[in-house]
Symmetry: C2
Subunit: 131 residues, 2 copies
């Protein structure tokens, strides 16, 4: 299978994107979910680090380019019907979320409410500066 069939094997959605789940390769913790287009997947493979497509900014997003919280790729999986990716990553700095938490899934459903259950490790101002 060539690199182009690597891309062609993916069932891209109508916007040309696929969801990519990032999981800590050692702890198994699910860190975040973001989106990739074909270029993002190609760059991820070529560079060995997670590169997503930012839907809000409309451009490639090299995870960690501002924060230093790069995700080094250990394994890339595609699911049974080819429409979801799973990245097993080494999370540099131990922080995946822009809020300064280890992962993005910190709203837990308790007693019918979404409650914040995971601590901020580093304040966003420390990560990104005050600008």
């Amino acid at each position: 299978m060539t690199s182009s069939s690597l891309i062609e094997s993916v069932n891209w959605n109508e916007a040309g994107l696929i969801p990519a789940i990032a999981q800590d390769h050692l702890s198994g913790e699910v860190l975040m979910m973001a989106w990739m287009n074909a270029e993002a997947l190609s760059c991820t493979v070529a560079e060995g680090r997670a590169v997503y497509w930012s839907r809000s900014r409309g451009k490639l997003w090299r995870k960690g380019e501002d924060s230093g919280h790069v995700q080094l790729i250990h394994d890339i999986r595609l699911d049974c019907d080819g429409d979801t990716l799973l990245l097993k990553v080494e999370q540099q700095g131990g922080i995946a979320c822009h809020t300064g938490r280890r992962h993005c899934f910190f709203h837990a459903l308790k007693d019918g409410e979404w409650q914040t259950v995971d601590a901020v490790i580093k304040r966003p101002e420390e990560i990104y500066g005050d600008d």
Copy 2:
């Protein structure tokens, strides 16, 4: 927060859906990703089992209704920007994938190719019958 704000807090996409990642609550293994609409999330919470929205069939999909491979809910998380769910589940029968594997992410990227790396535990004909 009331049950309705539980639903209203979710950033549903333009189709009224949200991706939901199912993770084994003990092993941390990522089992699958599927979609929910508001009714599916409400049913999941009310019934304590994963209920998805099948985009291909256009109806609610009570995971395991045919296979018996029900996903019992242990924890439901919403991510930082409210547009992805993470379900920590107890996978009945130990099989989440319709191909008869433990999980759906069995295509691994190796040497530029997607290679099948996880074994079938139970043949689909045994799970669903020959029809």
